[in-house]
């Protein structure tokens, strides 16, 4: 069984799984493997490893920044695959590569899927591939045994949610607010989100539901994900990395934040 599906199967009924997004190669190339292993020790259940792209048009300033740094650090797809292989030597945490389609297309869609599966990647999230355009990659991903995770947003109609559910494997990614990625104040997110997630629950019946965008604390997560299977944190985590790096002990500061996200203070 796929590591993602296994993880949801093993989850306690009340538990909220925590998926963490980090940009591969940020803040430097050498830290990514250690960060992922440390995240796992401190409560991460799944990892979304970001493939940096020069023009991340669904992302806010934080992820744009981390992507620019990673690119200037010399990140490449093969280096990302090496990182995943390095993580796999020590961990069975589910790993999902997340990024824009152009670097995947340039690598070669089939070659990318095969190589990703071979090094131990479990799934893919490609925000600029809506279900309409899934034909470009679905078959290759499926042949390689990679789960495709599609997104639903507050303005996604019921039928489209059902379609995303049918096309997805692992889980469905629920975007809590209309907007780009980035940490937001709690009020901005929670006011209408519970109604929305209720609607997602009604339409997404095959896969678990993970909710992301705008979560920056344990309290946010418990609130927003109360009716979901788990939550995703990206920009808030990268902000902590950005603010602590390269101070002595910066990784420990990041790990403390991760621990607090999952378990509270």
């Amino acid at each position: 069984m796929n590591r993602i599906t296994q993880k949801f199967r093993d989850k306690a009924p009340d538990e909220k799984l925590m998926s963490l997004f980090l940009t591969a190669g940020f803040p430097d190339l050498d830290s990514t493997v250690d960060l992922v292993l440390g995240f796992e020790k401190n409560g991460a259940d799944l990892i979304e490893l970001g493939i940096p792209f020069s023009d991340p048009l669904a992302d806010g300033p934080t992820i744009q920044y981390s992507s620019d740094i990673a690119i200037s650090n010399g990140i490449t797809m093969d280096k990302i695959f090496e990182m995943v292989a390095g993580i796999r030597e020590k961990s069975e945490i589910p790993i999902i590569l997340m990024g824009y389609m152009n670097p995947v297309l340039r690598y070669g869609v089939e070659a990318f899927c095969k190589k990703a599966a071979a090094v131990g990647v479990d799934g893919l999230i490609l925000p600029d591939i809506p279900v309409e355009e899934s034909a470009l990659i679905d078959e290759f991903a499926s042949e390689a045994g990679l789960s495709m995770v599609y997104l639903v947003a507050p303005n996604t109609a019921d039928e489209r949610m059902q379609l995303a559910d049918q096309k997805s494997g692992g889980f469905v990614y629920c975007v809590s607010v209309t907007g780009v990625t980035g940490a937001r104040s709690g009020d901005e997110v929670s006011s209408s989100v519970s109604k929305f997630i209720q609607r997602v629950r009604t339409n997404v019946t095959i896969n678990p539901v993970m909710v992301g965008f705008g979560i920056r604390s344990h309290e946010d997560a418990q609130d927003i994900a109360s009716n979901a299977d788990g939550f995703i944190v990206g920009s808030a985590l990268i902000d902590v990395m950005k603010n602590s790096y390269p101070e002595e002990g910066w990784k420990q500061a990041v790990f403390s934040f991760v621990h607090s996200l999952k378990f509270g203070k």
Partner: protein, 399 residues
């Protein structure tokens, strides 16, 4: 059976594909938005009231039809085919961009949108959008790269005067590509009340098709005018290509005709200099800003910085229909350098008393290569897509 059927050009398909190019590569949040737009456009384009209002505005506000001017001095200079100029420089605001801005603003109003956003490179599309918003009393926000704001200050001032807010984009190369990223981020954040007026035949479906159709008036008029003037169709069409809207506007009505069609890209310092905007000449297929098309990108799929003396051509992508027309060989694409464009700009100014936009000058520069191959009695139409006043600062620095 060996009946020769006349093929009819019918791109794109229902999914927004021109051959393998185009599509809708956008975040989920934008899918309902572009689906609603597609539906509205498909209804509006067949609504006689909408069509009549659009054409009335083009006539009374934009100043259409624009003239087709016989360039007798330029023709004499080369001494071969007759050169005609399609005078988009005479449009209100000084370039063809207003045709599309008017069309899209009518759609925005029809859809009840109250907030208009746009991206701009040279500032021509920004000015056109700000103009249309002023005319229709809609809030207008234009995203423009910080570097472009510097080299096109005149257009920034014009937009301010027209009541638009111009937001400086400091990310990436600080040019058109980054302004487009920022406009899309705004759109993703405000999908309900905001209409994004894309300025070229780029972006997700239905934009490439819709923008082309709002500009086809250029080709429709040119066809009628050349038939009146010469009693026959031209042998050549020539236009500059950045995103490619003025070119598609001129080319589209001639697709099924026996006319040789040529698009000219900006080579910048030269196609192999690493400082170029010649997307078809130097690029390979990829995905940027919502569609699959030729792109300038490195081996890791990171988008490369384009360079052109002309801010309007300084873009690492190109409209998906041009990619299709290149692959299918219906249109030939070549590139000319910054210097060649400047020389052509000077020549047209001196010979015809018309200062073209730096963008349009690229098309004229190709006459140096094309004219020796032409014969007396043949006819060329060059799209003079905009006037050069906005470029005077750059022109002065390069004289």
């Amino acid at each position: 059976m060996n009946t020769e059927l006349k093929t009819t050009y019918d791109q794109p398909n229902a999914r927004g594909y021109f051959g393998k190019y185009g599509g809708k590569f956008v975040p989920e949040i934008l899918i309902p938005v572009i689906s609603a737009l597609e539906e509205e456009y498909n209804t509006a384009k067949d609504d006689p009231e909408f069509v009549a209002e659009y054409h009335q505005l083009l006539e009374e506000y934009v100043g259409r039809p624009t003239k087709l001017t016989f360039a007798d001095k330029l023709t004499a200079h080369y001494g071969k085919a007759k050169i005609y100029l399609k005078r988009e420089d005479l449009c209100h605001t000084g370039a063809h961009k207003i045709n599309n801005a008017i069309g899209q603003i009518l759609l925005a109003r029809r859809m009840g949108k109250t907030r208009i956003i746009a991206e701009t490179g040279a500032g021509q599309h920004g000015v056109a959008t700000a103009t249309a918003c002023a005319k229709f009393g809609l809030k207008c926000i234009v995203y423009m790269g910080a570097e472009d704001m510097e080299r096109q200050k005149l257009n920034v001032d014009r937009m301010h005067l027209l009541g638009a807010e111009v937001r400086s984009v400091e990310s990436g190369s600080k040019t058109l590509k980054d302004a487009t990223n920022e406009a899309i981020r705004d759109w993703v954040s405000n999908p309900d009340d905001t209409f994004y007026i894309i300025g070229s035949v780029v972006g997700p479906h239905p934009y490439p098709m819709m923008v082309r159709n709002f500009h086809r008036v250029i080709g429709d008029e040119a066809k009628k005018q050349i038939l009146e003037a010469e009693g026959r169709l031209p042998d050549y069409l020539l236009a500059c290509v950045g995103g490619g809207s003025n070119a598609m506007g001129l080319f589209y009505p001639f697709m099924d005709d026996d006319v040789k069609i040529i698009g000219i890209e900006a080579a910048g310092f030269g196609v192999d200099s690493g400082k170029t905007a010649a997307t078809i000449t130097k690029g390979t297929p990829g995905i940027l800003h919502g569609s699959m098309s030729y792109l300038l990108h490195d081996q890791n799929g990171q988008i490369e910085l384009a360079h052109s003396i002309s801010a309007g051509l300084d873009y690492p992508g190109i409209g998906p229909e041009h990619s299709f027309l290149h692959d299918s060989k219906r249109v030939e694409y070549y590139a000319v350098t910054d210097d060649e464009a400047m020389e052509a700009l000077k020549l047209l100014s001196k010979k015809e008393g018309i200062i073209p936009a730096l963008e349009s000058a690229h098309a004229f520069a190709w006459l140096e290569n094309l004219m020796p191959q032409t014969k007396e009695g043949e006819i060329i139409i060059v799209n003079l897509s905009g006037r050069g006043d906005k470029d005077m600062k750059t022109i002065s620095e390069n004289l």
